[in-house]
């Protein structure tokens, strides 16, 4: 059991005073970010990323930096549940399904119960996903060491086709935003020949569009504008949390073990195959409603209806780090931002990470175990504090969040042009959200664009322009085949539905 030994070594790295302090800081910041409208996991991490530049230069600093950033992510995952249950405002897209039963519970005065159930099942989901990461990622990484450019390109292809096949948004809108992301990634210097592309003589565009700016604009400013439409005041339920409620709820939770297992499986699967936490939470809510004996009561305030989406969302959010670490292909926008962080710190995500940066990888995995335990403790004890943040009027909090976003965008490259771009992306995010253009494929395409293009062109060079290279052996062939299957899945499912309707 090499993994166990490596993991123990990871714990030894993580358990220093500095790293544990960073873990707490990350979780608390993350929950605050998750609670605030307009700040979420992806753009929260993006804004704080520049703060880690100097931290990462110290010896062992990259591990500390990733602990801070990943704990912000866990915190944001926890924080989303607070606003969904108490205020009926999903702080994060993956908490939308939690509002269905969480808010009715809060209205009935059972907010404490709902919150405990949400946090505990988040914890369970994350734990399952971390265990999966611990044992599966070394295998995947070992496997991926053999990959050449055609294999890598087919993995990228699979990632992007999965978005088209699995997202709830219209397929051509997904395709359009995804390709826009690739186009934005292509701006600047061509990675292979060094030629300038799509810059039209502008010096600002020489370095291309940074995905961090896009993330801050799309998710931050866009979200603020959307929240504004709902008006300026939040009305929320009061949460009474004490040990008695927590223990009472914990006694009740083992009843839902089957729902937990199902949701964890759905979550892990959706996280690894880039579907992401949001569809995972909806899917798992739907599955739980279908299989539960109280299925028809879902939506009126069932604890089981909180357990299912929260478990899946957290499992997916955590599992999204597996392909990020092992293949360099993030499964969610936040994982993409973390990947960007790794690149900036000078680490090359992908299979070699498991060989060359053992301390970093296992430190991160160990911190996932500890971070989620810390997170559970923090949120269970501090809910009223975090809920109080949302009682700050919007006319105060909104400009402060915009200021934070602007500072975050500026610090990426010390450029005011980037701040303007952030506003442009903000308006785009607002319109895209309202018209169901998905944002995640756009962000992922900006992050992966250059590398997908390089691997495609290298593969083409190897094969002298022969496309059959993507079917040249069983591995790359099955990856490409699966990708094409997912790409045409919307069409296939339409045909199947037609056939079924006829017979």
């Amino acid at each position: 059991m090499d993994e166990i030994q490596s993991l123990l070594q990871g714990f030894a790295i993580v358990l220093t005073l500095k790293n544990v302090a960073l873990m707490f800081t990350g979780i608390v910041l993350g929950v605050i970010i998750g609670v605030l409208p307009g700040l979420g996991g992806a753009n929260g991490v993006a804004i704080l990323l520049p703060l880690t530049f100097s931290m990462a230069q110290a010896p062992g600093g990259t591990t500390s930096a990733i602990i801070l950033l990943s704990c912000i992510y866990w915190g944001a995952l926890f924080g989303g549940a607070i606003t969904s249950i108490l205020f009926n405002i999903p702080g994060e897209p993956w908490s939308v399904a939690t509002t269905f039963d969480g808010y009715p519970l809060a209205q009935k005065g059972r907010a404490g119960e709902a919150l405990t159930a949400a946090f505990t099942s988040s914890f369970v989901g994350a734990l399952v996903a971390v265990i999966v990461i611990t044992f599966l990622s070394p295998i995947v990484a070992g496997f991926a060491l053999e990959f050449g450019p055609p294999e890598f390109f087919s993995v990228y292809l699979l990632t992007f086709c999965a978005f088209i096949g699995m997202s709830k948004e219209p397929p051509f809108k997904t395709l359009a935003t995804m390709m826009l992301g690739f186009a934005l990634a292509a701006v600047g210097t061509d990675p292979v020949t060094g030629t300038l592309r799509l810059t039209f003589g502008s010096t600002h565009l020489l370095t291309g569009f940074d995905f961090l700016i896009a993330v801050i604009g799309l998710f931050g400013i866009g979200e603020i504008l959307l929240t504004l439409e709902e008006g300026l005041a939040f009305k929320g339920a009061q949460a009474k949390m004490n040990m008695k409620v927590v223990i009472e709820t914990w006694k009740e939770l083992p009843k839902y073990w089957l729902t937990s297992i199902r949701s964890s499986v759905v979550g892990c699967f959706m996280g690894i195959v880039p579907g992401g936490a949001t569809p995972a939470s909806f899917m798992s809510y739907g599955v739980a409603r279908r299989f539960s004996k109280d299925g028809d009561k879902f939506g009126t305030g069932m604890v089981e209806g909180v357990v299912a989406p929260e478990t899946a969302a957290h499992a997916a959010g955590t599992a999204a780090l597996l392909p990020m670490l092992t293949l360099g292909v993030p499964g969610s926008p936040t994982a993409a931002v973390l990947l960007g962080g790794l690149l900036i710190w000078g680490l090359q995500p992908g299979p070699l990470l498991f060989v060359e940066q053992k301390d970093f990888v296992w430190g991160l995995i160990a911190s996932m175990y500890l971070g989620n335990i810390v997170g559970l403790i923090v949120v269970l004890t501090c809910v009223p504090l975090f809920a109080a943040i949302l009682r700050v009027p919007f006319s105060v909090i909104a400009p402060i969040i915009i200021v934070i976003c602007a500072i975050g965008a500026y610090t990426v490259h010390n450029s005011i042009f980037d701040v303007w771009m952030m506003l442009v992306f903000g308006v785009a995010g607002y319109v895209f959200k309202k018209l169901q253009y998905p944002l995640a494929p756009l962000v992922l395409a900006i992050v992966l664009g250059d590398r997908a293009e390089s691997s495609f062109r290298q593969a083409m060079l190897i094969s002298q322009g022969d496309m059959t290279v993507f079917f040249s052996n069983s591995l790359v062939g099955s990856l490409t085949g699966l990708a094409l299957f997912l790409l045409f899945w919307p069409l296939l499912s339409l045909l199947l539905a037609r056939l079924r309707a006829r017979y």
Binding site: M179, A183, S395, L423, R457, L461
Partner: protein, 168 residues
């Protein structure tokens, strides 16, 4: 997007969909145009720089056309309100000052601009009394100054006020 608000619609879904699809088409066309300039074929040493973007641009244009077609097909019940006039006013009430704010950053520095921006919001939308406005807006900028300039040593844009106070 609920109709229950009952506000006057500023834009309907069909118009918004069509405009967004048209913008996508234009962007795709720009990409194709520049790729054609760079060359999207093959040379003896492999694909030219425009090779990959050309196809990206082509896919954008094709999917934009399809989305445009689908947008025109939106009718009746589905052609609901994209944004109500009241909502649009609120959104613009944030967006326009934000743009002014970003314009000010390069001029008077991020700290003064941020204080002015927060103060403007609190006074205009929140109708707070002046001393609260001053406390929050200035306090906010001071906290950010401490975090970025003092603790993390990340310089942000500064203006004449910082020059006078010798904080540069």
């Amino acid at each position: 997007m609920s109709e229950s608000g009952g506000g006057k619609p500023a834009f309907r879904v069909r118009a918004a969909e069509a405009v967004v699809a048209a913008v996508f088409f234009a962007l795709g066309a720009i990409v194709i145009f520049d790729s054609a300039r760079l060359g999207f074929g093959w040379r003896e040493d492999g694909p030219q720089p425009g090779y990959f973007p050309f196809y990206i641009g082509a896919i954008i244009c094709v999917s934009a056309l399809i989305n445009f077609g689908l947008a025109l097909a939106v009718a009746g019940e589905k052609n609901g309100v994209f944004v109500e006039a009241g909502q649009l006013k609120l959104v613009l009430a944030v967006l326009v000052p934000s743009a002014v704010y970003v314009g000010l950053i390069g001029w008077i520095g991020i700290y003064v601009a941020s204080a002015a921006f927060v103060a403007f919001f609190m006074r205009w939308l929140g109708k707070y009394v002046w001393w609260k406005v001053a406390a929050v807006s200035i306090g906010n900028s001071v906290v950010f100054f401490l975090i970025f300039e003092v603790w993390f040593k990340i310089p942000l844009p500064k203006g004449p006020l910082e020059a006078v106070l010798r904080l540069n």
